[in-house]
Assembly symmetry: C2
Homo-oligomer: 133 residues x 2
């Protein structure tokens, strides 16, 4: 497997992390996501990590990097489905997922992204977004 599939759904891109991430795969994912945000104008990136038993500093950096690049392209990154044990480890290690929102599951994560989209449809999105940051 040399590419992780990216699913487009409405204004969001959904990625499920299922395999062990290595350097090249992480880079490819970031590139693919960036290209797809640019092509589709997606406003949200949802990364589902329920299959991950470990989120180490490598994965953490990858997520933060994806979020940073997506933000520049005006898309918000939401990580969904983190296992409780992973959350505990993240806090214990002091790893901070800067610029990333988390959601308990995909449904809530999509709700976050949809809320942003509908805020913008109402024409006062930029104001509200600021409050959330």
């Amino acid at each position: 497997m040399d590419r992780i599939p990216i699913l487009k759904l409405g204004g969001a891109l959904i990625v499920t992390i299922q395999v062990d991430m290595h350097d090249r795969l992480a880079l490819a994912l970031e590139e693919d996501l960036t290209a797809m945000i640019a092509r589709t104008g997606a406003r949200g990136v949802l990364i589902e990590i329920s299959a991950l038993e470990i989120v180490d500093s490598f994965i953490g950096r990858m997520l933060v990097s994806i979020a940073a690049v997506s933000r520049v392209l005006d898309a918000e990154t939401v990580v969904a489905g983190m296992r409780p044990a992973v959350a505990i480890t993240l806090v214990e290690l002091g790893l901070e997922l800067t610029g990333i929102k988390t959601a308990l599951n995909v449904e809530r994560g999509m709700a976050l992204i949809q809320a942003r989209l509908s805020d913008e449809d109402d024409g006062h999105g930029s104001d509200r977004d600021r409050h959330e940051d």
Copy 2:
């Protein structure tokens, strides 16, 4: 990886196939999907296979089997994202995906499932569903 994550979104369950399927993984996926349909009352199962370069008879049987079990539990199975080369091979091999609808991508697949859901909300779903079969 011993389990493929299943994402619940609205009335649908979404599965992305990213890894090589083997016997045990296919069985586990079928069991997990069945349990999740029963638990969540999902009415559609969307299987995204854009990462698959080959759909052989093993994968074909797995998809057909998932669709058959889901149908008994009143959920419709849609396969999305099939590569053109895979489609050609399927036809050449004479593999039939009985009971499975296909969609070009996740967005269209979800639209198929949503159409079924909203038909049922209108109170005349069962009639319309028959026409499609």
